[in-house]
């Protein structure tokens, strides 16, 4: 069941005019509410937060570390639920998202909103009370940034939506770091910058071969608003900034040789793939699909090697302490 007909006029959360009777008892299952949390996005958030937490200097009781990761995961999930509440009209007309619980009518918009707000409150308060208030404040700001700045404001307003909005996805390693140290320094900011500059090539590669989907939903993604070639040039530009940033933790002495080799090798592959995207012309999309898929592996490898090199020993020592 689709709640919104195709075409223009998509403006925010579904309320009046929805064909779901508001007074009808809910049929939503626990699985529908779990789907609202965007579990796949949540797993990447937990992984990057774990890396930030594990590479941070200092000690943290294992249960406190678990609590911090749990709160970050729940906070990320709450952001996802609030995003699905507001974007239900867009989700309904996009192939990739049309089967989400709100556009399918299994969860009512108000239920998704209440669920997201409740989880946000619990996650921030628990992180602040049980870990520290800098981490709690960063988590609150991340949720605010993703929901209000990105979802409500930027996503429908500018082709730079995912450039600025990408900051929300880049905060988790900083929250992980702040959970241990109660402060911030250059190293977590570097991890933030890696994810921040990784986001545009990653999402624009997807947007290039899903441009019709975004256009139908009225989302001004760069390929829709500025065209194919501009997007390909921007992908190259952001990849040129991303690769040195990926190598920086090794160059600045924060990471070891294995990280250095991994970041140089995978960075070179990213550059080659971005170059292939630049040379490719529609309707071909193989290069875009390759870049999108490899960019996920690229980010995963950088953080996994950093975690293995710097964090794992420290994490195990903390668990043994």
């Amino acid at each position: 069941m689709s709640l919104v007909s195709e075409g223009a006029g998509l403006r925010g959360p579904l309320t009046a005019g929805s064909d779901v009777a508001l007074d009808e008892p809910s049929l939503a299952s626990v699985g529908d509410y779990i789907a609202l949390l965007k579990p796949r996005v949540m797993s990447l958030v937990v992984f990057t937060a774990l890396t930030g937490l594990a590479v941070a200097p200092g000690t943290l009781h294992p249960l406190t570390a678990f609590t911090a990761l749990l709160c970050i995961a729940v906070g990320a999930g709450a952001s996802g639920a609030l995003n699905m509440w507001y974007d239900a009209d867009i989700d309904a007309v996009m192939t990739r998202t049309s089967r989400r619980p709100v556009p399918m009518g299994r969860v009512k918009p108000g239920e998704a909103l209440a669920f997201g707000l409740t989880l946000s409150g619990f996650a921030v308060a628990t992180l602040g009370l049980l870990v520290n208030w800098l981490a709690g404040a960063l988590l609150a700001f991340t949720i605010f940034f993703y929901v209000v700045i990105y979802t409500v404001w930027l996503k429908r307003a500018t082709p730079q939506n995912i450039v600025i909005g990408g900051a929300a996805g880049a905060f988790p390693p900083m929250i992980g770091w702040a959970s241990v140290t109660g402060s911030l320094s250059l190293e977590p900011i570097l991890l933030f910058l890696i994810i921040f500059f990784w986001t545009p090539p990653h999402f624009w590669a997807l947007a290039l071969y899903r441009a019709e989907d975004y256009a139908r939903a009225g989302v001004p993604m760069l390929p829709v608003a500025s065209g194919d070639m501009t997007t390909r040039r921007q992908i190259m530009l952001y990849t040129l900034i991303l690769v040195p940033l990926g190598i920086a933790p090794w160059a600045l002495g924060y990471a070891g040789l294995l990280y250095g080799i991994t970041s140089v090798a995978t960075g070179a592959i990213m550059l080659v793939l971005a170059w292939q995207v630049l040379r490719e012309r529609r309707p071909a999309e193989t290069a875009c699909r390759r870049l999108f898929a490899f960019s996920i592996l690229y980010l995963f490898l950088l953080f996994a090697v950093l975690l293995a090199e710097r964090g794992w020993g420290g994490l195990m020592a903390r668990l043994a302490a």
């Binding site: 007074d23 008892p25 809910s26 406190t64 520290n132 109660g182």
Partner: protein, 61 residues
């Protein structure tokens, strides 16, 4: 409307919303999930209080 039908309607209104079996099952599973989540939160706060010991009220920025 006949008197009998009107009385049936009144009785139905008095009963409030009558859930179908599927709605009843969905509500039960949601209630259990909420109970488990709240129970886990209580256990977490209790355990963290033990971990923090006397420093439980010390929460640096």
């Amino acid at each position: 409307m006949s008197t009998g039908i009107a009385m049936d309607q009144d009785r139905k209104d008095d009963d409030g919303v009558v859930l179908t079996e599927a709605q009843r099952r969905a509500r039960r599973s949601r209630s259990i999930a909420i109970a488990l989540a709240l129970g886990a939160l209580v256990v977490l706060f209790y355990a963290m209080t033990l971990v923090k010991g006397p420093g439980v009220l010390v929460r640096p920025m």
